[in-house]
Symmetry: C2
Subunit: 511 residues, 2 copies
Amino acid sequence: MTERFRQLSPSEFFYRNREIAGFSNPARAVYQTIRELVENSLDATEMHGILPEIKLEISEDVEGRVRICVEDNGVGITPVEVPNVFGRVFYGSKYVLRQSRGIFGLGIKMAVLYAQLTTGQPVKVRTSTRRSKFIYEYELMINVEKNMPVVKRLSVMRNDSKWHGTRVELVIRGSWSQARKRVEEYIRRTAIIAPYATLVVSAPDLNLKFERTSTELPPAPLTGKPHPRGVDVEMLKRMIEEVGKNKALLEFLVENFDGVGEVTARKFCEWSGFDCETRIKNLKVEDIEILAAKMQEYDGWRRPKASTLSPLGEELLVKGVKGVLNPEFVTAVSRPPSSYAGHPFVVEVALAYGGSIPSLEEPLLYRFANRIPLLYDEGVDVSTKVLQRIDWKTYRVEFPAPLAIVTHVCSTKVPFKGVGKEAVADVPEVESEIEAGIRECARRLRAHLSRLERLFEAKRWEVTVSKYAGEVASSLSYVAGVDREVLHSKLLELVRTRVAVGENGGRRRAR
Amino acid sequence: MTERFRQLSPSEFFYRNREIAGFSNPARAVYQTIRELVENSLDATEMHGILPEIKLEISEDVEGRVRICVEDNGVGITPVEVPNVFGRVFYGSKYVLRQSRGIFGLGIKMAVLYAQLTTGQPVKVRTSTRRSKFIYEYELMINVEKNMPVVKRLSVMRNDSKWHGTRVELVIRGSWSQARKRVEEYIRRTAIIAPYATLVVSAPDLNLKFERTSTELPPAPLTGKPHPRGVDVEMLKRMIEEVGKNKALLEFLVENFDGVGEVTARKFCEWSGFDCETRIKNLKVEDIEILAAKMQEYDGWRRPKASTLSPLGEELLVKGVKGVLNPEFVTAVSRPPSSYAGHPFVVEVALAYGGSIPSLEEPLLYRFANRIPLLYDEGVDVSTKVLQRIDWKTYRVEFPAPLAIVTHVCSTKVPFKGVGKEAVADVPEVESEIEAGIRECARRLRAHLSRLERLFEAKRWEVTVSKYAGEVASSLSYVAGVDREVLHSKLLELVRTRVAVGENGGRRRAR
């Protein structure tokens, strides 16, 4: 019995193992398709300074076919790139060092594949770039064996209305009724993390409109160089090959890595025992291995630059949370940039309390990564792990309580546990930043709750004292011979003033 | 600002996203490398009727390099295939309908990539097929950009000792000290699920030897045809193209699908409204879509054949559990074959109680899938979900209790949640089979515990009665004038006989 060997194309691999990318059942497939489309639309707008305007339309026929259509006002896609962007797995523009929602070059192709294998229908793409005179409309499918796009139809129209953006339409077999709740939750959470976006959903039993509550976009991320801590042997070898000219190690380090100046490079060479003037072409594999190991180990590098990241900022996060959760109290923390294995990251945390938040036995957790809401696999996410070790009594919270926690991890490389992008791994550096963020928010909540308690005490004092004010006024009036009514109203005024003082003092402290 | 697009090769994709395949940190990388090697070795032996003999050697140097070497007595690899098997992602022999540990064509390449990127060292492979006169020794690396193997060295030796098998050696940067416990646990669990294998580990601070406790191999799985329930539009289109000749629908169904005879095919055509005699080449895309949907929907198909599977069987499972956990009580259930979405599967469950199992607050869970022990991500596994809803009081178990549950899911397509193969998704059909298995085992445990209780009661009765036997004997001897000693010994004998009867009765009932 001999084994027959074969090579699968990336398309065929994911076609066979679609549950790995989140397409595991009819409900999840609808959810995942919508996610991929909406996330591409958000990347195509906000990353280019455009306030997102996203329309999601869903319809269903009696045969169980779900038509999903997402239109954005983004930068559009250059017409020659359309077939590859939608029809080749591992083809994309996001393989650079910069924060974006898309990273794997897989999601939208999976949706196209899923349509193809469940309904045999091509994806329809209409797109126009800014200032383009034409609108292009494609219908295309994927040749699974070759991992290549097959264009079924292409038409070009005049763009008289100066429209720019992309509109994608897919028909899949799926279960809208089972997916509806998740999709609604997904859109709600997207509105939390993108308060500058207008999101409109029209679907059977679901009509949503989230108007932007802010017209301020966080600064777009820049493309960066790799950090010396994040190198590996393979990467170094390829970089040395690509440099072309035979440079000295010093120059090589300064020109190709993030935050490495001449001084830092010299110090590193001294520490690691490499000669700054060594020609990099002369390095043997063993030398490169040691060099990579030393670069990973050295702790004299500057922290990775955060300019490749685009955190939301405390103000926008508060706006987003307020707009959607409508709490009584909300606070947010944007932690300073940090890094793991050479990848810069920023953790943001918000805490909301009271108002429309339901009282539950544990905090409601809203997880985000690079502005993507994460709804599945909460059990293995690093934020859940951190939350489980917080003792809320320390912060004066007694469950059941109306408490919601929002965590947001931004990175050029979020350590997702799978290509479905549903859970963040427990990288120690990320874990401790999340904990610090939650505790900071929790301390602010404690201050707020203490203030509420003081207010409550003061009110009780006011009620108690007011109850006796009449009697006290009568007695004083008898002893001092002053008019009882004047005394009574003065006394009540005094009580109210004292309570008001306590209120303001409290507000000042709890920000 | 225009976007720069590029295509990644599968190698480059996984090189960039190695944590998705389980290579997320230095400890996990060691664990994952060992797993991939051991699992390939087991597939190369037991699937071909060879009793596995697997040697794992690990050493470490002061620089943090870990050398991992696994040798088996398997069928070996044809020399021309070696470079692709180790040096091309998505190249493999396991893309067929048959249960095996390997399925993704990814694991071993990830280990090779990881060695390359952390130490720059090539993988060393020594192999010889059965009856081959030569042993081949390769050193090879991966061209990441092209996803192609690069052979660094090849030598051929005479195979005078008639050795066959494969020996793979890799040098990675990793943390052996942090991985050691997991690796030990992994090998222990492998010994549970493969009691016919001899496993020898020699590593720093870890020397293990599990001798096989059985020389009986479960029947090897056969390669099967797809089940009509598991088709999709894409697959049907390709099958129709590949058939070549212009067949009638009836013939096409009978010849290409699992368990479809002429009668079944006719009934299906009638039910679905397709004409049996339709020439398949004339089917339009829309027809194929409807055909696929109807095939998925029809419930008149026979269940998928289980010949593509290779469950362990109750006897071997009990042997495995006994050999490693050394419990007081053990029982196993091999459920009848079932299927989800056209994929056949079998669930096996074992329950062990007492003996060397530690008393804990909840049951110890040992998860397996296609004979792979699953150690990570227990929180999101279907078995955990099922276990959480079992009320053990119903089965007379009061925690803390020395209880261990073993679950084993075999399928031509285990619904893993990621390419790291650590958790099984909660497919409803799989979930209910696991629950049925656990409950069956739990009922047997209850019978056992009831018997123990009866035994305990009987012993107590024996002790109580024996205590008074002397006095009774004296009184009887006085009344009846019989010798006291004779009476006393007869009485004690009677007590012992009654207890023994209870014991046997109990044993019979509890099987």
